[in-house]
């Protein structure tokens, strides 16, 4: 291995000679600086290569002596990785700094070299005092860098930074000298091997060392100085601070862990967790991106420190050090790359004071970096977080688990809020082009993706099918410039290929859902061809989401499942974000999506899912609740209407008709894995039933009052999901049959509705129902599609929807859920209100003169509708087409409640013959039609506006289209049921969190002295706690 001392010599020699080199030209000097950093990177990589291929860690003495006489450097895996990371961050930052370095005095370049060398020294040295020296080198380098390009705010921050740094270094010196005095060595390994530090004086001495490092790690509340610096410095410097510096300091902490006793470790863990929680709470209140990233940085570092300490405490993980290295290392790598990239990117945007949306490449990088930061798959943070959560659950550390997940959720909230802002930009602003400055972020994003994919494929998720969504997204993004039809066909082919590849691995249940999930994806990929042009971003995301749904079905282990689940969540979130008004809904979509996913994660991590016994209690309930959040059960449904309404019209359809079945599938899978039972027993089932019912009723009632078609449909979906949940909760053959039947039916008619509505919106250019009217003559096919869909949805015979109603009521009455039945009746009746309004306001009544030129929807929409109509008709005439497979699926897990006798389905209470119903209805209808035609004398078509109106003729058709606030009397009577309590609750919840964050951030007064006071008080309190522990 390369002796690291050469690199120090190189760095120092270069730095010392830099003033002379500078005489030859600044460009050459900077090349030298970059070259030295690159040399560090190369050395780090070469060490990694040696160590990963089985090489031993090596120690390098100075001055020809070894420890304890002389200072020793050590190159192990952690050190090699650390040096690589630092050099990489340094290089990325250095490129972004190039212009500033060229214009500023040479001191900047010298300080950069020194800072990076200092950080590497921190990582490599095994000597406590030498550690101090390197801490100071990097600190002074940092101080120099903060002010080098003469940003006024950065000068202020630098002074604050120095005060805190001075305090930390004094603490460290006091600690180090007493460690020497007590342990009679400065070498870490020797000191750790002895017992001299275990007494009270030793504890105090080590405490000082630790306190200094902790302060350097920017703990809450003693971190105002750092956050100020993050906010104000050149973004490249912030990147170094947040990425490289944090890495070095965490490795320093890691290094002294062997010196620490349990009490110390508890302090680290507690402080780290508090920092994580508080950092994210305060971060959520930030609207300045760089400061927000600063808070996020301190939070992440706190988490990593806490994990390392907890693992060391022995309370976590299986293999102790291995676990800590994997989890803390994974989190750190994730943080390092993501934060470096984000600081560079956000900083560049802020430097330009740009307010527009980001150009595609930068935006993609920003998306990857944000997603990685939040811990979405497949990035390294995801794998680390999974292991962490698993270990926490195994150890029963639920409260820590709650902090970790809660903090992550907050982080997701503010990071994605920023991303949303950058993805959309302010209206009327030109797109932001960062040019070469986006190279660093893009590189960081690529590295993250590569590292994450490598960690996943070679680790816990080797199944390539599960990676198909990512592959599809990547390929289609590369082809994003090509025409939409090509990408659409590719998407359909991808879904088909996935289905073909996965089909044999799926059992009946999964095949059943695969039809809806993959078929739905393909369907809406076709529908997306309705507009010409490339439709950038739509196809890749749609394909990714579709394949992710497939991956959910394919997954075998809890981790695979969760991986696919989060992939699906991420892809669908981006679909929502892509919509025109998608910024806000996407935020609540992802926050609730992740909230649900985190509950799911906790449950999956906690339970023994192979045996099924351990999972039946709390873990199962956690999973259940997580799935309910995703399903949009009433109370946690607030993300749903906006997301469905604001996303692109084909995306809404996909979300509603296909993707909403994913949680349903997962519920079935959950129950099946527990032996066809719900966790928690009969009470859960009853509660779930009522929840489903409340969702059904709530969805219907909310839908009644909407003016926006898509919101109506969104709430309608909510209601339909409610019925599915209700039936599922019955937990018997009847219930499950009903639930699956409803699910498939909902897929059919909701697809038709959304396709039709997409056409309508495309042609009319509005989503408000009262701005439409009389479109039946312009869009007859769409009308027919909507007509059939609403007949099916409302459950009016003879279409298949009635089957659902019949099954549902038979189930409920048979189960003895009488009151539930009554409420279900009511909810179903309410559905008529919005369904009538839907079809009336759009297709009937008075047409608007402005919409005289509206045409039928594009073929890409009409064709799928025709197919769906045919399918709907077929399953209505022959209910067995649908019910036979479903009954076979439900099988003999439960006593049979429904039995077919020919075409007649029999329950314990009654019977229903769908075919005969259809024949009778058809016959009667034909009879009446013939009667009508036979007696129709001299029919005359009159103009639409030719109506008799209470002895006067209204002047304009617009005023006679009764459509706005259609059910106002109903609101007057029952409006109290729909006062958006859930929205208000979550608003209040958000306000509460925000005010906690607001209160916490009052600590950050901006006064450097107050920050110093925080530091000293933090240390004092920590010391007192140490005494208590």
């Amino acid at each position: 291995m390369v002796n690291p001392l050469w690199l120090f010599a190189l760095s120092l020699g270069a730095a010392f000679l830099l003033p002379l080199v500078d005489r030859l030209g600044r460009r050459i000097a900077l090349v030298l600086v970059h070259g030295v950093t690159a040399a560090w990177l190369a050395a780090g990589l070469s060490w990694l290569a040696v160590l990963l291929s089985g090489g031993e860690a090596a120690e390098f003495g100075t001055a020809g002596f070894r420890a304890p006489l002389a200072i020793v450097l050590r190159v192990g895996l952690a050190e090699a990785a650390g040096v690589t990371a630092i050099a990489l961050t340094g290089l990325l930052a250095a490129f972004s700094l190039t212009r500033s370095l060229r214009e500023a005095p040479l001191g900047g370049a010298m300080a950069l070299l020194m800072a990076l060398m200092g950080l590497s020294g921190i990582v490599l040295t095994r000597d406590l005092f030498n550690l101090f020296v390197f801490l100071e080198i990097s600190a002074i380098g940092t101080y120099g860098l903060l002010g080098f390009d003469d940003r006024k705010p950065a000068l202020r921050s630098a002074f604050k930074y120095m005060i805190a740094g001075g305090l930390a270094s004094s603490l460290y010196l006091i600690g180090v000298i007493y460690v020497y005095r007590l342990a009679d060595t400065l070498n870490l390994d020797i000191a750790a091997a002895g017992t001299a530090l275990s007494g009270p004086a030793g504890t105090a001495a080590v405490f000082f060392l630790l306190a200094a490092l902790l302060v350097e790690l920017k703990p809450f509340p003693a971190n105002g100085w750092a956050v100020d610096a993050y906010e104000t410095a050149h973004p490249g410097i912030s990147a170094i601070l947040s990425g490289a510096s944090a890495t070095a300091l965490l490795l320093a902490l890691w290094k002294i862990l062997p010196l620490l006793g349990p009490a110390h470790l508890s302090l680290v863990a507690g402080s780290g967790l508090a920092t994580f929680a508080a950092g994210n709470l305060v971060g959520a209140r930030q609207d300045r991106p760089l400061r927000m990233l600063g808070y996020s940085s301190v939070a992440q570092v706190g988490l990593v420190a806490a994990v390392a300490a907890l693992a060391r405490l022995g309370g976590l993980g299986d293999g102790g050090a291995d676990f800590a290295a994997a989890v803390a290392g994974g989190l750190l790598l994730n943080h390092l790359l993501a934060k470096t990239g984000l600081f560079l990117l956000a900083g560049a945007v802020e430097d330009d004071d740009a307010r527009g949306r980001l150009a595609p490449l930068s935006l993609a990088a920003a998306g990857v970096l944000s997603a990685a930061l939040v811990g979405l798959p497949p990035f390294p943070g995801f794998w680390a977080k999974w292991r962490l959560v698993r270990a926490l659950a195994d150890s029963g550390l639920w409260w820590i688990l709650a902090i970790v997940l809660g903090g992550s959720l907050l982080e997701a909230f503010y990071v994605f809020r920023w991303l949303g802002l950058r993805a959309k930009g302010e209206a009327g602003e030109a797109p932001v082009r960062l040019g070469i400055r986006s190279a660093g972020p893009v590189l960081a994003a690529l590295l993250l993706a590569a590292a994450g994919a490598l960690a996943g494929i070679r680790g816990p998720v080797p199944d390539l099918l599960l990676w198909a969504p990512w592959a599809a997204a990547a390929i289609l993004f590369l082809l994003d410039g090509t025409p939409g039809w090509l990408k659409g066909l590719l998407s359909v082919a991808a879904a088909a290929a996935f289905g073909a590849a996965a089909w044999d691995r799926l059992d009946g249940f999964r095949q059943f859902f695969a039809v809806m999930l993959l078929g739905g994806g393909a369907l809406f990929s076709i529908a997306a061809l309705r507009k010409g042009g490339p439709r950038r971003g739509l196809h890749p995301l749609l394909a990714a989401a579709t394949l992710a749904l497939g991956a959910i079905l394919v997954a075998r282990t809890p981790l695979e499942f969760f991986f696919a689940w989060e992939t699906m969540t991420a892809a669908s979130w981006l679909l929502v974000l892509r919509g025109r008004g998608g910024e806000k809904p996407a935020l609540s979509y992802i926050v609730f999506g992740l909230g649900g996913a985190f509950l799911l994660m906790a449950g999956l991590a906690a339970g023994g899912w192979d045996g099924g016994i351990a999972a039946a209690g709390w873990p199962g309930l956690l999973v259940l609740v997580g799935l309910l959040v995703k399903a949009g059960a009433l109370g946690v449904h607030v993300w749903l209407p906006g997301s469905y309404a604001e996303s692109d019209d084909e995306s809404s359809g996909f979300l509603s008709s296909a993707l909403s079945k994913a949680p349903i599938f997962a519920l079935f899978a959950l129950a099946l894995s527990l032996g066809a039972a719900l966790p928690g027993g009969p009470w859960t089932s009853r509660a779930l039933g009522w929840l489903g019912l409340a969702t059904a009723l709530g969805g219907a009632l909310y839908a009644v009052y909407q003016e926006d078609i898509k919101r109506t449909l969104a709430y309608s979906s909510l209601g339909q999901i409610g019925y599915i949940l209700l039936a599922f909760a019955a937990m018997d053959q009847a219930g499950w049959t009903t639930s699956l039947y409803l699910a498939l039916n909902h897929f059919l008619y909701k697809s038709m509705l959304f396709l039709a509505v997409a056409g309508v919106i495309q042609r009319t250019g509005t989503r408000n129902m009262y701005e439409m009217g009389g479109l039946i003559k312009k869009m007859p096919v769409s009308f027919l599609s909507v007509l059939m869909a609403i007949i099916a949805l409302s459950g009016v015979p003879p279409l298949s929807g009635f089957g659902g109603k019949w099954l549902l009521y038979s189930t409920l009455i048979g189960k003895g859920w009488y009151l539930e039945t009554a409420v279900a009746f009511f909810a179903s009746a309410v559905a008529f209100l919005y369904l009538y309004r839907l079809i009336h306001s759009i297709f009937l009544g008075q047409p608007k003169p402005s919409q005289a030129n509206v045409r039928e929807a594009p073929v890409a929409l009409v064709l799928p509708q025709l197919v769906l109509m045919a399918v709907l008709m077929a399953v209505s005439v022959f209910p067995r087409l649908m019910l036979d497979p479903i009954l076979a699926l439900v099988g003999d897990r439960f006593p049979a409640a429904f039995v077919f006798e020919g075409t007649r389905l029999r329950s314990a209470l009654g019977y229903w013959d769908g075919t005969l119903t259809m024949i009778v209805t058809g016959g009667v209808f034909a009879l009446c039609l013939v009667w009508m035609l036979a007696n129709l004398h001299n029919p005359q078509s009159v103009k639409q506006f030719n109506i008799v109106f209470a002895a006067e003729r209204p002047l304009r058709p617009e005023t006679t289209h009764y459509a706005w606030r259609f059910f106002e009397p109903y609101r007057k009577a029952l409006g109290f049921l729909t006062r958006e309590r859930a929205e208000r609750f979550w608003d209040a919840f958000g306000t509460g969190a925000a005010s906690v964050g607001g209160a916490l951030r009052r600590l950050y007064t901006g006064n450097g002295q107050t920050y110093a006071l925080h530091v000293v008080l933090y240390v004092a309190v920590l010391y007192l706690l140490l005494g208590v522990l």
Partner: protein, 233 residues
């Protein structure tokens, strides 16, 4: 008021934490094993009479190199911060500063040479007597400070300072590498013959290194003074 209470509490808390260390650990009876090893081995290892110097320059020479780097980084930082342009002085002639007192001027004339000589003495004898490169460098810088005080309008030659700083620093690194190639490790002073203990030319490259450090520190501190005065371009 609240703030004062908090400050008091903070200082009291810190005092409480210091109590077991600063007050409770007492005075040792004898040096520990490591110190004893240094005391007994250093003269033999390096032929340095001043054991502290042996430790500073050789055993823990890496620290010292780092310390030089710290000072260097600080100088760089100061230099970057306090240019005339950034201080808002621009190209304007510095305002006339009050002339120094005669005592100062006279004393400076007398002392400058002596101080420089004394500084050089200190770093040349670092391996024999108390003192070393830093102390010597500081004394030299003091001489230059006196000069600046006595003649406020005078300038230090930035170029020369920078050249001295750069070259001595690079030479120090070079000496370290020499140790690696000719002796047993980076910064090993045994690259040069050890000589007889107690004589000026002894202790291998320790005096050379200390001289380089002395020059470098002197130049750097002078540079800092120069910058603080507001004379940097």
């Amino acid at each position: 008021m609240m703030r004062r209470v908090l400050v008091f509490l903070a200082v009291a808390g810190l005092a409480w934490a210091l109590l077991p260390l600063a007050l409770g650990s007492g005075v040792p009876e004898a040096p520990g094993a490591l110190a004893t090893a240094y005391l007994t081995d250093a003269p033999a290892d390096f032929g340095a009479a001043n054991i502290v110097t042996a430790i500073v320059v050789s055993y823990r020479g890496f620290d010292t190199l780092g310390e030089v780097a710290v000072l260097f980084a600080a100088t760089a930082g100061v230099g970057a911060l306090l240019t005339r342009k950034r201080l808002g002085l621009g190209d304007a002639e510095p305002e006339a500063k009050p002339a120094a007192t005669e005592i100062l001027v006279t004393a400076t004339g007398l002392l400058t040479g002596l101080l420089v000589m004394f500084g050089v003495y200190i770093f040349l004898h670092g391996h024999l007597t108390p003192g070393g490169g830093f102390q010597g460098g500081v004394v030299i810088a003091t001489a230059l400070l006196l000069g600046l005080l006595a003649r406020p309008e005078s300038h230090l030659s930035h170029g020369i300072l920078a050249a001295v700083e750069s070259l001595s620093g690079a030479a120090y690194v070079g000496m370290g590498l020499l140790g690696a190639f000719l002796a047993w490790g980076f910064l090993d002073p045994r690259a040069l013959p050890l000589g007889r203990i107690g004589s000026l030319v002894s202790a291998g490259s320790i005096p050379v290194i200390y001289s380089l450090i002395g020059l470098k520190v002197g130049a750097e501190l002078s540079g800092i003074l120069d910058a603080l005065k507001g004379d940097r371009e």
